[in-house]
Amino acid sequence: MSDIVLEIRDIEKYYHQFKALDGVSLCLEAGEIRVLIGPNGAGKTTLFSVISGENLANEGAVVYRGRDITRQVSWKRVQMGIGRCFQVARVFPDMSVEESLYVALQAYAGWQKKVRVPRDFFRPPRYVLEKTGAILDEIGLTDKRNIYVKTLSHGDKKRLELAMALAQEPDLLLLDEPTAGMSPEETRDTVNLIKRLHSNRRFTVFLTEHDMDVVFSLADNISVLYYGRLVASGKPEEIRKDPAVQEVYLGKEGDFDAFS
């Protein structure tokens, strides 16, 4: 079972009396792209928060590479290799693109002990400078490196957030609706970017998505969450045909003439 990256068992999460997650269990295998689908408010973001440590589960366990991290604080989980991007990009509005990456890489360099204090006090260490260029190239933001983040377009902000997450060399990347709010071209680019990063870096990707085109073009496996419960998990074709999923989420084919 060494190829299980993440295992979550019987997670329950309450907000006051409201049960956001109700006994969710699932396993992620190393290197797969798993897509989590479900209606808004189904608990997708809550599940991500529980995995990444932003919120703690009320019941159940989160096991990452054999280590129980249910109660671990989020920054330690990041250091263990769990990266996360948000539905609405969380970035540093008053910094430039380049500076944002400096921060991200500096943090990584810090816990990887790649900083030498007196020399690297004011200027970013050489590692950071080199890596910044590499990541900007990889993600395609090189021409915007000196632009203030708050003036970036929505799509670019999400890409920058992804770049910052990449700086941490994640082993498992959680992406919350990576294409939300993007134009078709941007969506296409993002899908390609995720595919490219995945094949280069061989990490595990766990993402939520509404756009079914994106879902079916990316997913190795799909899980369906419906109001706190995991209804189904499996290969895309299985999910498409699953009667339970059709009933609660996808609908039967031909139910609607247009679905966008």
């Binding site: 920054w75 990041v78 921060v103 816990w111």
Partner: protein, 347 residues
Amino acid sequence: MFRQLITKNFILLRLATAAIIIVLALSLPLWANPGITFRASLVLIYILFAASFNQLFNYTGLISFGQAAYFATGAYVAALYVKSGASLSGGIILAVIAGGLVAAFLGYISLRASGIYFAILTLALGQIVYQVIFKWPATGGENGLADIPRGTINLGLAQISLASPVSYYYLILICVSLGLFILWAVTHSNFGRILMSIKQNHVRASFLGINVRLYQLISFAIAGSIAGLAGAVYGPLTGVLMPEMATWIYSTTPILLTLMGGANFFWGPATGAVIFGIFEYLTRAMTGMSSLIMGLLLLTVVLAFPGGILGLVTSWLIGKPSIKKSSRNEGSAAASKLMPGGDVINE
């Protein structure tokens, strides 16, 4: 035309301003009378005190309402040390350490909360420091400490007496410059950049693997030790210390100096302290009206130029609005997002 000229030579202008200020600061005791020198010494101390607050406020995104407690801690530690017959330089070092330690301890507690709760927690803990100073016989209790000597500074070859206001002014100038340099270095370093990132979005920062609480705590401790440094040179200047200097009322001083000068600028607190010092000097004869005048001044400044004096000057010089709407992260500025007409783009 004029603006263009200034924009073009902005760096030159800054250098010139810096040169003038340095010359003024260095030469002040030579032309000013001892009264003004004393007030200038106080202003210098307040510059450092306020800058220590802004290290938290603008560069870390924390509002501390207990800064006076660390200032007082430093002041008392240095004063007690000097009163025991030891040299002031040792007292200053001890004060820096003590200010930092107390701040680290209280910061550790306060950082459990965030936003306005953090501010109020620092206030409450600061009041406890005040109560301790007030009740503890070793600190002179409610009577405070009097007759705090200045002593001498040993420079190896020569002993320099600090008794005269002029030599003590230079000692303060050195300490304050040193303190400001430390703050400047911290805020402009890689470490400072991480603090800035925490201020702008602490959730993202922690999802970059940054131990947000630890960084905030270190920043809090640094601000505390710098406040302690400012306090250390304060006691021997006035010769007395009162426990009241640890109360929340005194903690408002650095806040108002900072906001008056311009919180978004490193030199904002300094500007605020200088302007305020001049203002206080000019109104010294208007006895009995200080709170009314202070309140009106403060109110007009925050209402008419919320970017502070430096914000006003920059927008006038380079024609750019300088008032940044707070880019503080969601945690503490939840309120501003909820208000009608907030510039929050939801698209």
